[in-house]
């Protein structure tokens, strides 16, 4: 698909379907229409073989807000998150339809370098997954393969800056040669965040980053998310609604592969507009 191909452009298709420029503007909530979105999705469908996991999702993600995806297990929130940096490409049966753009650029275009895309749209997973390498090498790995450092001094600076931004520098600065896997679970997760930050991403996707952590380590990650807000567009998938309420400014509720409601977190958790959202966040979901 070319950028100017109006016939096949899902943006145009969605606009035609709704009779307007924004797919959700006419619906019960406003998921799109952001003035300058960092990422935008329009009419996204995801299939695993014949099974449809995501159904016509359109949403904008901006730089200024942390966005939380919430919903019951199997609702598609992680599947949709993974479309934002083409992680679903690694699943042979997965098929993605629709249009997803990063700064207006179609990330599913044939010319898109997926490795570069995943550097620009980093990801932190549920279980900390440091490489079986030193703390230093974990963080230096990305800058090395992407050629981001001209020499050792610059690489040292990138590693230190990334660990500082991840709130881990003071805890590991005297043992950078220790194995990353020897750190505590919370430290390992912050190391993974430092690793994602090291390649200077524009977007960070977090898939239940605290589900394997204790409350103190969780609080440190949440504080880190707060500190990183504004520097990166951040999208977090979480089952913990209190966490979504604490760390995000906008919340999207998914149910059965559909985006049910997307709005200010303060509104979603005090006065949701959709009955399904209310039933889920108040524990009436059956």
């Amino acid at each position: 698909m070319t950028d100017n191909d109006a016939t096949n452009d899902p943006r145009a298709r969605v606009a035609r379907q709704t009779g307007g420029a924004s797919s959700a503007a006419d619906g019960p909530f406003q998921a799109t229409g952001m003035a300058d979105p960092k990422m935008s999705a329009r009419g996204v469908n995801v299939f695993y073989g014949a099974k449809q996991a995501i159904n016509d999702v359109s949403i904008d993600v901006g730089m200024d807000n942390v966005v939380a995806f919430i919903g019951p297990s199997g609702c598609g929130k992680s599947t949709f998150l993974r479309t934002l940096n083409r992680m679903n490409d690694t699943i042979p049966s997965a098929r993605v339809e629709g249009d997803i753009r990063l700064d207006g650029e179609d990330i599913y275009a044939a010319r898109m370098d997926v490795v570069q895309l995943r550097a620009r749209v980093g990801m932190v997973f549920q279980k900390p997954n440091p490489f079986p390498k030193s703390i230093f090498d974990n963080v230096a790995y990305g800058p090395r393969i992407h050629g981001l450092a001209a020499g050792k001094t610059e690489l040292d600076e990138i590693v230190e800056r990334s660990l500082q931004r991840a709130g881990l520098w003071n805890e590991v600065k005297d043992r950078l040669t220790d194995s990353g896997t020897a750190l505590s679970g919370g430290q390992q997760q912050r190391l993974c965040i430092a690793r994602a930050i090291a390649v200077d991403p524009e977007v960070i996707l977090m898939d239940e980053p605290c589900s394997a952590l204790d409350p103190i380590a969780t609080a440190k990650i949440e504080e880190l998310i707060h500190a990183l807000r504004g520097q990166y567009a951040i999208v977090i998938v979480t089952h913990n609604m209190q966490q979504a309420a604490r760390v995000s400014q906008r919340t999207a509720f998914f149910h059965l592969g559909t985006l049910v409601e997307y709005g200010a977190t303060s509104d979603i958790f005090t006065n949701p507009r959709q009955e399904k959202t209310k039933d889920y966040i108040t524990g009436r979901y059956g």
Binding site: Q242, F269, N271, T282, G283, R284
Partner: protein, 225 residues
């Protein structure tokens, strides 16, 4: 009427239901206190007035229990959306209803002080005001029990009547005391009762506003502006 679906955790439903029951109990007691106080005033029944004064302690005790239960439920259940609004409304209403009970007690305390005076007997407006204020409390509590926002709106509309009677009585009382300076003490008591009833109307309105907020997340006061 808005029927609420049950929570997956049924113990949460039971806690919410308990708190709602306590608010309804408080409201019924406060409404009865005001009615009994006015009846004791009309009949100069000091014994009945004393029962009203003593009964206020029970209302105060329920308020304390509501506060404890609401804080406990917020801490343990982390309620969201309409559950959170329901609990906030219950907390605020318990404080407001406690004040209604206090005003009933204040009126009852004046029963003996008005003995032997004749002006009260000729002033039906004060009792009409009490009837309307009592009706407002009853409607606010019914609106709460039924989650009925239309009835909540109706409570707020009636507050204007109470306010107008209080203003009229104020003028009447001042005119009377100008002509009959020896009645100043009685008039001072009656003016306080009128003010207490006017405040009961205000608090019934506050309760209705909380009902509206808990059901809609919106401010009823904004709607009336």
């Amino acid at each position: 009427m808005n029927q609420q679906a049950g929570h997956t955790v049924t113990a949460f439903d039971a806690e919410m239901s308990d708190i709602r029951g306590m608010i309804s109990d408080m409201g019924a007691r406060a409404e009865a206190a005001v009615e009994a106080a006015m009846k004791a005033l009309r009949t100069n029944d000091i014994d009945s007035a004393r029962i009203v004064v003593a009964g206020d302690k029970a209302i105060d005790a329920i308020e304390t229990s509501v506060e404890r239960r609401v804080v406990q439920t917020i801490a343990l259940r982390a309620p969201m959306a309409d559950d959170l609004r329901d609990l906030v409304a219950a907390l605020k209403m318990s404080g407001v209803i406690e004040r209604i009970g206090d005003y009933g007690k204040n009126i009852a305390k004046r029963v003996g002080a008005l003995e032997g005076h004749g002006f009260l007997d000729s002033n039906d407006q004060l009792f009409r005001m009490a009837d309307i204020a009592g009706e407002m409390v009853r409607m606010a509590m019914d609106a709460y029990a039924r989650r009925d926002i239309d009835m909540a709106r109706a409570v707020c509309v009636r507050d204007d009547e109470v306010d107008q009677i209080h203003k009229d009585l104020f003028v009447d009382f001042i005119a009377h005391v100008a002509k009959h300076p020896t009645d100043a003490t009685e008039i001072a008591h009656l003016l306080s009762i009128s003010k207490n009833l006017e405040r009961i109307g205000d608090h019934a309105t506050n309760c209705a506003e909380m009902v509206y907020f808990s059901q809609t997340g919106q401010s009823l006061a904004d709607e009336f502006e």
